[in-house]
Assembly symmetry: D2
Homo-oligomer: 136 residues x 4
């Protein structure tokens, strides 16, 4: 399993008049956490796009247990529980606040596809080689 | 069953560099569709908040089948398949583009809670009375 | 002068915990109003991009006089006071709420540039021909 | 003069189909930079709201010189050039990318007002006392 932690400070823009983070903004937090997860492997999502591979999201599931508030310093734990065997990759997320309360659960499924044609493809070798050391 | 249709024009701000609507923006589309669904019943979500009842989202599931593009005039079909029996309400959504292609499936679960205390409550009577005519 | 009016309903996502529309969201409202202004001329911004011309914003000025609130049905008046003589176009905006109170003033300056090269260019002839009838 | 630097990584969500950061998102960057600027003084904007003082934006001016791109690590320089004498405070911003190119200029004017009544007020003493050491 490959696990990373990413910290995100809640912006005022991300709150709504219920005084909490708007439910739609967690998708951005998950995106940032995925990108930082990949960066921790010495690779970047940006480099993947430059190699001609993009990762559209095909499915997302979120459970909102407790609200996040303005200026909270969130800790997003990101789990890659299985090494992708084909064009599909699954990230799971747990969002905690600074009191270590679990706020949100997320699961995001993405495909590796070729830029332009949207043809399904595999995870780039440069990423797989570093990632598989976590799946002995 | 209670079904409504809401049309939303895709904004430039809602696209990303993949030339499609960013996956996180569908939560906003579902929010607008829910609000218009309630408005069609002669009630508004704003009035509900003024009555002291807010509706936080507790769960969301989304499947992204095909991308939406800038300036697309989306049709969001919103389904309320069951009359809420307690504090829980489930909206289902189908997003179509102007070529009537199904782009996205969404399911959003919300609670009725009292403003301030966040105590679970029931759907306001003013809304229930008009809604139950759709569930004979 | 060319003037149009565009109506936008405030989304919950666009509010913040000050119970008003977040100041950063007016840029989106101005974008929608510009796009609808061009659509009223029988042309679309999308078609302009397909012709190889994009319109990056180079300057924006905004004055926030009164707040907009959730569910307000805003009326955005968009003014094109001069026919562009070169690569530069200036849109001015006034945002009113349903009580006809003036909430916000905006001025957005954009360039016509060629997609890819970012070379300055002129307004496409298809747009100029319909627009100049408003500047006799 | 009081100057701070804040680093922000560009999110995918913040790009648009022009492959650059959408012009409306700079308002969020300025907000984060203001908040971090105040935090550097040992105070937080959140604490100010808890003291009953909020800071609505009344005016914003932005010049977009060069585009920011996905994954850029922006450096937002924030300048407070004058100690506020009344209810008005002016922040100026310069946004640089990692190549130290100046991308954007911003000026944001805010008021100190009492929460609830929106009555104009002064900068809280707790903030003024630390800030005035920068204006000898």
């Amino acid at each position: 399993m490959f696990v990373t932690e990413t910290h995100i400070r809640v912006r005022y823009a991300e709150t709504d008049q219920m005084n909490v983070v708007y439910y739609g903004n967690y998708a951005q937090y998950f995106e940032v956490a995925r990108a930082e997860s990949i960066r921790n492997l010495g690779f970047t999502y940006k480099e993947m796009e430059e190699l001609g591979v993009i990762m559209p999201v095909v499915e997302m599931q979120t459970k909102f247990l407790r609200p996040a508030h303005y200026d909270d310093l969130l800790n997003i734990k990101t789990f890659l529980k299985e090494l992708p065997a084909d064009h599909r990759i699954v990230f799971e997320h747990e969002v905690y606040n600074q009191q270590k309360k679990l706020l949100t659960l997320g699961k995001v499924i993405l495909y590796f596809v070729k830029i332009g044609s949207y043809e399904k493809t595999q995870m780039p070798e440069a990423l797989r080689s570093v990632l598989q050391t976590f799946f002995p």
